[in-house]
Every structure is written in structure tokens, then in C-alpha cells.
Amino acid sequence: MTGAGTEPRSVLKITDLVAGYGGGDVLRGVSMQVREGGITCVVGPNGAGKSTLLSAVSGLLRPRLGAIELDGLDLAGLSPRQVLRRGVVQVPQNHSLFRDMTVRENIELGGYILADRKLTARRAATVLDAFPDIAGWAGKKAGSLSGGQQRLVEFARAMMLEPRLLLLDEPSMGLAPLVLRTVFDAIRRMSAAGVTILLVEQNARAGLRLASDGVVMESGRVRLSGTGREVLEHPEIGALYLGGAVSSG
């Protein structure tokens, strides 16, 4: 599925990425691209390396081999802070708000590296406009919110830096189906606002339906890629989850 010249360009280009913890490699030569303005959804069975991939991109895990290029500049080896300054913002899998601080304070903290109070206040106002639900809870302690509400605040906090690339690690984790709808709608809205998104999702069906592009990882490698629809309807996706022979691709 390589493309014609009219395709959007890639914001992120990962080439032959090898990374891991301790003695073993979790990522064993991952190559993939994230198209500008799209939602690229990475799915795959447990242990496939999905979250490790995000950690490598955001600088939390130093790659052993390979390249991670953001708009043509290599991120590999940069610190998380340096990666953040390049505009790559990650929303982690586990809830990460400061529970005893208000929602507004949490969102403002997303602008910490801006080191500019006026700019931070302006951005916070813009972000709250974009997430009208949140405005109603702005004065509440973050710890008093439901899991789904906390997820939305985490999204809003990430938007404070006007990210070039937003990394979302399993945003549906632990959420009830109805809440999931709200969270996925929020992802869709951030995308519609022009943010390029790399989404790792355990609910493969919902994630791939939302996404413009899909990638299936298995055992640290990319095994299928295409549009979200193509990947979801691929006859071999079952074998990738439940085992069995699949050609690598």
C-alpha cells in the first residue's frame, strides 16, 4: 500500500526499530509511518510491543537500533523532554492526573514547558473551548472524576502543547462501553481539529473503525498494515490474535 504522490506526507517515519528491556528485544525491526492529519491505530495481541513502540517514540525507552523520524528529524536517543519539545505528546495508559489538584490546574500543567503564564492561560482557554464538557468540571478535584472524565481531561492537557503528534496509549482501558463512545468521539474531534494521532488500542474493532490507517503488530513486528478498514477486514487478523501461520508483511 505504497502510494501516489497525492497522499498526505508522513509526520512520523519509523524504520527497522529495535528496542527492549533487559536482555530481550520487544520490538524486532518495526517499520511504519504515520500520515499527517490521520489517525493511525496500532493493534495486536498482548505482548506484541504496542506500548513499547510508544515508549520508544516518546523517548521513555532508548531504541537499540533503527530510526524514528519526526518530520525528517531523528528522535532516537533524545530525552523525553526533548521529544516533547519537538511536539510529540503522549497520554499514558494509566490515569496520570494529579488527583488533589483541580481539573483546570491539571490542564494548565500540560503547558508547563511553555514557561509562559499568559500563553498557558490562553491555551487553557482554547482547550476548554474545544472540550465543552470539561468546562463544567474545571473547578473540581481531578480525583473526583470518573475514569472516562479523567481520560478527557488527559486529552485536554495533552492539547495544551498543540501537539504535532499525539500518542494515545490504550485510551479505552478500563472504560465501560458507553463511556468509550465519549472518549472515541473526543479522539475524532481532536483529529478533526488537525492533530495527527498515533493510537494504540486493545479494542481492535473500535480502534480500527475510528482510524484512517491500521497496523497490526505481533511479536514485535508489523504483520499487517493498510487503511483501518482493510486491516479490520483482513482474513489473517484472526490468526494474528489466535495463533497460526501468517505470512509476514
Binding site: G47, R181, N203, A206, G207, G243
Partner: protein, 247 residues
């Protein structure tokens, strides 16, 4: 067929969340049974209920004819159910051999000999004098397997024996399970590595959201639509499952 281990209609809720709901799972004597399911489907909770680490709200657990529902972990172990944990629970600052002897109930020389035999069996006897904390992750899994085997349990429950383990050790672990099974040992294994589960187990039970959605031989499970649906997740409320058909 004789079920050596059986859970019957087991339910377990944490707060308002049903981790297990009417969960009936049977493990035939002398078999290697697998328990699979997506993240959060209740596999480890079922292990915890069987082994007394969590209390069932409903249903029963039987070992043979004996009802062992909600017995304390040490009693369950005494009844003959040994288990390992997803994240190994070893004593990092004791030697490998000392770890083995912690679990050992009887006399010193005999216990030591038996412990060394088990370490030989799993292939880490050469490390017996080293601190357990210096072992690789895979070797720790092998130590835990050896440690559980010391008490010669009737049923061995393994929680992700291949998780995070490199390929050659995964094969070693699978081979040791096969050998033990050939000698009559019964296993129930939770594992995400499908090749491992499907290659090793006689029968696989699939959990999704705390309920059993399928059970049967690996070849059947692999092609079961309900199983694939469990792994791929549900469509969101309102998502049109067949958007292509509108056009």
C-alpha cells in the same frame, strides 16, 4: 472424563464490576488445560479464587470430590493445588537453592536432594548457589516452576509461564510441562502466547468479561468466531458494523 479441578458457577465482583460471572471451568485429570482471554477477562481472578487468594461471591470450586471453595491459600496448597504467579514471587536475596528450601516441608538432606533434582529438571541447577535476584526473567519462571513442584501438587496452575521469556526458554518451559504431563501431572495454564497454549494444551477455555465464551480443543478454539470477537473487542454503541453496505 473426570474433572480433577472444577469451578462451578463462580462469581466474583470488585465494587460494581463483575470480574467473574457464572464461571464453570473443568480440568480433566492428566490433561494440560489452557485458560485464555483478552486483558481483563478474569483469568487471574479465577486463579485467585481457585487458590484462595480471592473469595468467590458465588459458586464453588472442587478438587476431585472435595469442595475447596474459599479455603485459605495454604490449605489449598495442602490439598494439592500449586500455582505460580504472573510476576514471579521469589526471594531475590536468597540463593536459588534457599528459595527451593523455603517451600520444602521435610527433613534437610532429603529436602536438599529433592530441591536439587527439581533444579536439574528445569535446567537451572548450575545456578543453585547464586542469588535468585541475579536470574534472568525466564530463569525466575523456571525457579518458580521448580519451587511449586517440590510439594508434588496434584494440579499445577501456571500464570503466564511464557510471558516475557525469550524463545529458547519458552521452549524449555513447554518441554518440561510436557514431560511432567506425560508422567501424569495435571496443568491449568493462563497464557497470552497463543503458539504456546495451542501447542501444549489438550483443551482451551476462553474467558471474556468474566464469562466462558468457548471451550474445546485448540483447533476448534482457533477458528471460533466468538473467540475472535472476544479478542478484537466490541463495536462501540452506535457504530455501524457494516458501513460498506450503506453505499
Amino acid at each position: 472424563m473426570t474433572a480433577l479441578l472444577r469451578t462451578e458457577g463462580v462469581g466474583k465482583a470488585y465494587g460494581g464490576v463483575h470480574a467473574l460471572d457464572s464461571c464453570t471451568v473443568e480440568v480433566e485429570e492428566g490433561s494440560v488445560a489452557g485458560l485464555i482471554g483478552p486483558n481483563g477477562s478474569g483469568k487471574t481472578t479465577l486463579f485467585n479464587v481457585i487458590t484462595g487468594y480471592a473469595k468467590a461471591d458465588a459458586g464453588h470450586v472442587y478438587l476431585g470430590d472435595r469442595k475447596i471453595t474459599n479455603a485459605a491459600p495454604d490449605r489449598v496448597f495442602g490439598f494439592g493445588i500449586g500455582r505460580t504467579f504472573q510476576l514471579t514471587r521469589i526471594f531475590a536475596s536468597l540463593t536459588v537453592l534457599e528459595n527451593m528450601l523455603v517451600a520444602s516441608p521435610n527433613g534437610r538432606a532429603a529436602a536438599r536432594r529433592r530441591a536439587m533434582e527439581q533444579l536439574e529438571f528445569v535446567g537451572i541447577a548450575g545456578h543453585h548457589a547464586e542469588l535468585a535476584g541475579t536470574l534472568s526473567y525466564g530463569q525466575r519462571k523456571l525457579l518458580e516452576l521448580a519451587y511449586v513442584l517440590v510439594a508434588d501438587p496434584a494440579v499445577v496452575l501456571l500464570d503466564e509461564p511464557a510471558g516475557g521469556v525469550n524463545l529458547s526458554l519458552v521452549n524449555t518451559i513447554a518441554d518440561r510441562i510436557r514431560e511432567l504431563n506425560a508422567a501424569g501431572k495435571t496443568f491449568l495454564i493462563v497464557e497470552h502466547n497463543m503458539e504456546f497454549v495451542m501447542g501444549l494444551c489438550d483443551r482451551v477455555t476462553v474467558l471474556d468479561s468474566g464469562t466462558v465464551v468457548a471451550a474445546g480443543p485448540p483447533a476448534i478454539i482457533r477458528t471460533d468466531r466468538r473467540v475472535l470477537n472476544a479478542y478484537l473487542g466490541d463495536d462501540l454503541p452506535d457504530d455501524d458494523p457494516n458501513p460498506g453496505e450503506r453505499a
